[in-house]
Symmetry: C2
Subunit: 497 residues, 2 copies
Amino acid sequence: MNTLRELQPHEGPSVTRDERREFLERVGDQIHREPRHDTEWVRVTTLGCCREVGRASFILSTPETRVLVDCGDKPGAEGEVPYLQIPEANPIADLDAVVLTHAHLDHSALLPLLFKYGYDGPVYTTQATRDLMGLLQLDYLDVAAKEGRTPPYESAMVRKELKHTITVDYGNVTDIAPDIKLTFHNAGHILGSAVAHFHVGEGFHNVVFSGDVHYTDTRLFNGASNDFPRVETLIMESTYGRRNDYQTDQEDSERKLIRLINDTYEQDGIVVIPAFAVGRSQELMLVLEEAMREGTLPTMPIYLDGMIREATAIHTAYPEFLRDGLRQRILHGDENPFLAEQFQQVDGGQEMREDIAGGEPCIILSTSGMVTGGPIMSWLELLGGDPKNTLVFVGYQAQGTLGRRIQSGRREIPFSDRGSRSEQLTLRFDVESVSGFSGHADRNGLENFVGTMNPRPEEILCVHGDESSTDQLSSGLYQKFDVRTYAPKNMETFRLD
Amino acid sequence: MNTLRELQPHEGPSVTRDERREFLERVGDQIHREPRHDTEWVRVTTLGCCREVGRASFILSTPETRVLVDCGDKPGAEGEVPYLQIPEANPIADLDAVVLTHAHLDHSALLPLLFKYGYDGPVYTTQATRDLMGLLQLDYLDVAAKEGRTPPYESAMVRKELKHTITVDYGNVTDIAPDIKLTFHNAGHILGSAVAHFHVGEGFHNVVFSGDVHYTDTRLFNGASNDFPRVETLIMESTYGRRNDYQTDQEDSERKLIRLINDTYEQDGIVVIPAFAVGRSQELMLVLEEAMREGTLPTMPIYLDGMIREATAIHTAYPEFLRDGLRQRILHGDENPFLAEQFQQVDGGQEMREDIAGGEPCIILSTSGMVTGGPIMSWLELLGGDPKNTLVFVGYQAQGTLGRRIQSGRREIPFSDRGSRSEQLTLRFDVESVSGFSGHADRNGLENFVGTMNPRPEEILCVHGDESSTDQLSSGLYQKFDVRTYAPKNMETFRLD
């Protein structure tokens, strides 16, 4: 088990203060070097995440500077990694900076790989994202090892990445190159998630990467910021970008979830919810804790499997990233909802899972959120055969993931029996989806993010969505707001100025 | 004076047969190497010539191969060269092949520079283009030297380029890389000009670069070919792409030109016509020779200044590139119109020019065609002050050139007095434009080139035109033919598959 201590090496004993000072001095010299080129152009290259969900990765470049934004994996398609080999990304070692918008693996998983390729510069992100990304990356290596896959890098690269991380608070304007200033703004998506604003040259161009955004407030977070000094180009997520991608509102969603749990409870069954360790899990914990406290749900154990407990601890460690009311509850008194006693960690391995599956009604939150590996696979095996139980999807299921296939009606799933022979597993439990808990803005939220954005961008690249989502959002935003819009492909380079 | 002999070094004494065989063997080994990558994608990068006329240059790339298509200068803007420094073009030395669509300097001028940057591979073009490009490049160096500019390469690089040239006939399918086959087709623009068709992978993708095209037949050439086995993407010139860019037809244009010459003749004046050495000059020679033979023009001297005579000789050397009737006249009997006795070379320098300017009515064809340097500058000085004389523009005048400024009404022009002090020259002669002699298809011709293209491409990138031209052609083709169209900027990279 990785501990938080391990994950903050530059505050622990493994990095000396001298090493850190030397690194920061070197970075400072690079940033404040005499620029060799005029800022005559700005380009963005798409290394992934175009007409697909996954492997988010972009290069922002000027004649002077190259910055990489995000470097994620693609859930359900391990082989499909960002196109780091194309000329615009090379040499990796010469990148000026790496910027991470948030910790989810489809944005962060392959970031340590850059250090394996010789990168030795800074990674800019928020404090909370720094801790979460280390946690999730180490878990990513664990899951790969358990499934017999060779991960693309070793844990030493995660440590190296963390040593090279420089944290930046929301709203702080930070020089990251002679001609680029970075400012993070709250994205409302998960703890520490950021909209990244880049000011290029002396007023030459401004480009905003939305990262993943949630436009309205949730139980955990304030809605995304969309107020900037200037912005000409917006690189916009499109997860729920299709014309009919409207989510039910959170109150209705909560009622539906509680009804599903009560129904399952009454028939003596177990509810299992695949969830990202970071984000949906904590949102659901708040919903379930309140429902049990207020009596709309009977009190029963809520088991957390995977890295959820560690991730939750990081939420508690950074209350300043949370919504006002929640922050107060955590800071003052003993009202921290994450510490309610019904939350129990699955820390006894497969034996404990078998006991839980054979026991009383309960709720299980388990990673991975898109059913692409991790303990959720055991839960499918243990609970999937019994019609009394219920599987509830609460988050986005990307194309190509087992989660998406089950959500779309598939009930016969291949099941690898501990690595040796393959079996078919027939799912007989009830499969439900509740849409209102997503960490992503729905179509309405995406339109509002753009429509109320101050100032309105002149050009929008719609990325991070299935082809139909990026296409429909692109044409929708064009028609509604009369801005130039595109739905790029992977491996394209756009001139922004 | 450079001779044709000098320009064909691999047939002359300076390249041994061994050297040539060694080069061809090396190229052959490269082409037939075991491919290291699957053809998973095709990209095109714009190094110039987007939303502008000039510095044509593109990179066609696959996981295995990078091919550079054209490498020109920008008339009237010496500093604006193709963006060879961007990552997609580098390292230049590792390019697999260079392809040249035609010899005009806005496509060929900077090609020798590649050899200075370490390129050592083949240049594919037609036979006629090989000879014309050498001629024009050496002239480009001469003009630069005379004007006190430092050219970006030396004549040794032109010789190196010519040694590395492999000529390809129209219609011959040629392997130029493990995954790319090239086929040239007649483009109808100038002698040897080609539409370049690239077949990528085994039926993976087909992309056509139009180069500069003339869709209908002219006196010199058959109209452009637009019949291909397959084509998904078309990179299309847009010089006359605006909605109202219709040229008068050639018969009307000829009548207008003859009237202008007769009027000037009757008032005892001289007609001066700025013309590219290659293309418009020969077209006009045919018109003027016929008019004098048929008596619609009085017989008078037609002076050729600049590289026109050499270029005309190359036309005579390659009759197979000319239109049927003209080819017969050159091949059989003594009817070669280019040898008519009224054509006289200005080979006596400035003194001869002064004699001509002070003498009897005559016609002068002089380079450069866009009044950006060369002997036309002397003719402006000698003839511009006298209202009896007439300047006639017959070709496209690019933005930023002195030709465009005079065409747009400017009459006070700066004049450098042999490199020392600057003077103003006031133009008092009549300035006329006759549009129908252009080597470029007009808007109608461009639409017809696409509309009758077999098969119809799925996607068209509109390049090689002012911003209004590429924009209007792009939206026009989209509306008329329901294909995806774009008007790229420079330094963009598009995924084609």
